[in-house]
């Protein structure tokens, strides 16, 4: 096996440089576990709060920050039971409860002032449910992080050309160049374009898996999440 493909070790079915979420939490690293969760979930949670509770930008940011701060203090990970739900669902439900109670408290404080949060512009412009917005943001964030990892890996392993071809083809908005055009642009054979793309896509898949491993309870949940991602 190509050593670059074995980023999770030769025996790992998925890359496994990260331990699972529960392993990290139970090893006394709730802060580290939370860092991973925040990297992936901060934006989806923020968007969810905005859409679900009609908060403006600053209030949504504050609530999001408060939620993660509270999560660290309240044994958030210890209460997660992977038998009952995926971590993603558990987290969204926790956000829902937390933000609802904060929202109710804010309304009580403002009673008499008749101050209400209006719907945010995005909410008015879309028929998507807050849950759907949360899922979509989660996917975006997951791939964004994996792409950052991928680019860094290509840079450090001297595979910048691989990433350039991938960027020109798979990250292109609108029309994609032909393999022949890419081959001519970089003075390589067309088969090399095919091989480079196959390698980068494989690595992208591996980095997505690695990011997911850090925020799932174990192999079973990781596989389930992976299956739900691929089209």
């Amino acid at each position: 096996m190509d050593k670059d493909t074995a980023i999770g070790g030769p025996h790992g079915r998925f890359p496994s440089t990260q331990v699972s979420l529960l392993e990290a939490a139970s090893a006394g690293l709730p802060g580290e576990a939370l860092d991973r969760v925040m990297a992936l979930y901060w934006k989806p949670v923020y968007k969810y709060i905005r859409f679900r509770f009609g908060k403006d930008n600053e209030d949504a940011k504050d609530l999001t920050q408060s939620f993660f701060a509270a999560a660290l203090q309240r044994e958030f990970f210890a209460r997660f039971d992977p038998v009952k739900a995926s971590f993603r669902t558990y987290l969204r439900m926790a956000v829902e409860r937390f933000a609802a109670s904060q929202h109710a408290a804010a309304k009580r404080q403002k009673r008499g002032g008749n101050v209400e949060f209006g719907p945010v512009e995005e909410q008015a412009a879309t028929a998507e449910s807050p849950e759907r917005v949360f899922e979509r943001e989660w996917q975006h964030q997951l791939f964004s992080l994996a792409l950052d990892d991928l680019r860094a890996h290509c840079d450090t392993s001297g595979r910048q050309l691989h990433f350039q071809i991938f960027e020109a083809y798979d990250l292109a908005e609108g029309g994609r160049p032909s393999y022949a055009a890419l081959a001519a642009r970089h003075s390589i054979a067309e088969t090399a374009v095919t091989n480079h793309l196959a390698w980068v896509r494989r690595m992208l898949r591996a980095f997505v898996a690695e990011r997911l491993r850090g925020v799932t309870s174990g192999e079973q949940e990781l596989r389930k999440e992976m299956r739900s991602l691929w089209m």
Binding site: T5, Q139, D170, E173, R205, M226, R227
Partner: protein, 291 residues
């Protein structure tokens, strides 16, 4: 690095594609998708032929070996198995061209043809059961009818899939009887609108909620279908007298015609004799009166 919705959709697609660069196969297109795997049409560069390539989660590494045990004319043969660089498992098998059973039925095949197909499916199932393998997810989408009328049962459910609602037995633990339930549901699905009552009864018996009330094995079910085809009484149905007489009539039409013709001739001869007797009596009476 932020990505747009359209790029995200593209990435979700391409990152799932199997990396076949180290194999003899060249990807063509996706042709099917299940709970645990995706099937692609691919080209075998060495042999210059098209194959079906199933890509499975690494946890399902045992599936190809199990399928390969099932050497039967109605089960798609496995050509080769292997592991991809990302540890997913693949196996190449015969690419069946034809129609999925649900599409095939839209061509309104005859009842005899429908029964031929269900018999082939049943034979494949019976064979798998002798190898201690159950299908778990028998349904029209998993049966193909090939260009030459050959029938293939696909997607053997060794990957812990627990069936499709309309064809899934209400059993807590899946076993052979669960497959018999699904075969009954498949028979019911395949029957035309005004299906003969005995065939509906066979399907009903196979689909009993109590596994013990179903056929004990697939050959028993097929035997009952065979009885129907031969015009005999099926075990699944206690037929009323009128139906028994009608079936007897249909089964012995020639004999009945001969008996009817014989009775008719005898009847005519009988009356001829009577008329001849009357005519003779009248003649005798006339002669007497002339004297």
């Amino acid at each position: 690095m932020d990505v747009s919705d359209s790029v995200l959709v593209h990435l979700r697609h391409v990152a799932a594609l199997p990396d076949l660069t180290a194999t003899r196969y060249e990807l063509e297109s996706e042709i099917g998708r299940g709970g645990m795997g995706v099937v692609y049409a691919a080209r075998d560069r060495q042999l210059g032929r098209r194959v079906a390539l199933k890509i499975l989660d690494a946890a399902m590494a045992g599936e190809p070996q199990i399928i390969a045990q099932l050497e039967h004319p109605a089960i798609v043969p496995v050509y080769e198995t292997g592991t991809l660089p990302d540890e997913r498992v693949f196996y190449a098998m015969k690419l069946v061209t034809g129609a999925r059973l649900d599409h095939y039925l839209s061509g309104s095949p005859s009842l005899a043809e429908r029964l031929r197909v269900i018999r082939r499916v049943g034979e494949a199932l019976a064979f798998a059961h002798t190898q201690n393998i159950i299908h778990r997810d028998l349904k029209p989408q998993n049966v193909m009818v090939g260009e030459f009328g050959e029938v293939y049962v696909m997607d053997w459910g060794v990957d812990a899939i627990v069936g499709t609602p309309a064809f899934r037995a209400p059993d807590r633990r899946l076993d052979r009887r669960s497959d018999i339930y699904a075969l009954g549901a498949l028979l019911q699905f395949m029957l035309p609108a005004a299906a003969p009552l005995p065939l509906s009864a066979i399907a009903d018996k196979a689909m009993k909620a109590d596994p013990g009330a179903r056929y004990p094995d697939v050959p028993e079910l097929l035997a009952d279908i065979g009885r129907f085809e031969e015009g005999l009484a099926v075990e699944a149905w206690s037929e009323p007298l009128w139906h028994r007489l009608r079936r007897f009539g249909a089964r012995n039409a020639a004999l009945l015609w001969l008996l009817t013709a014989y009775a008719g001739v005898k009847f005519l001869l009988f009356f001829c004799e009577i008329f001849k007797g009357i005519a003779a009596d009248l003649e005798t009476d006339g002669e007497r009166s002339q004297r």
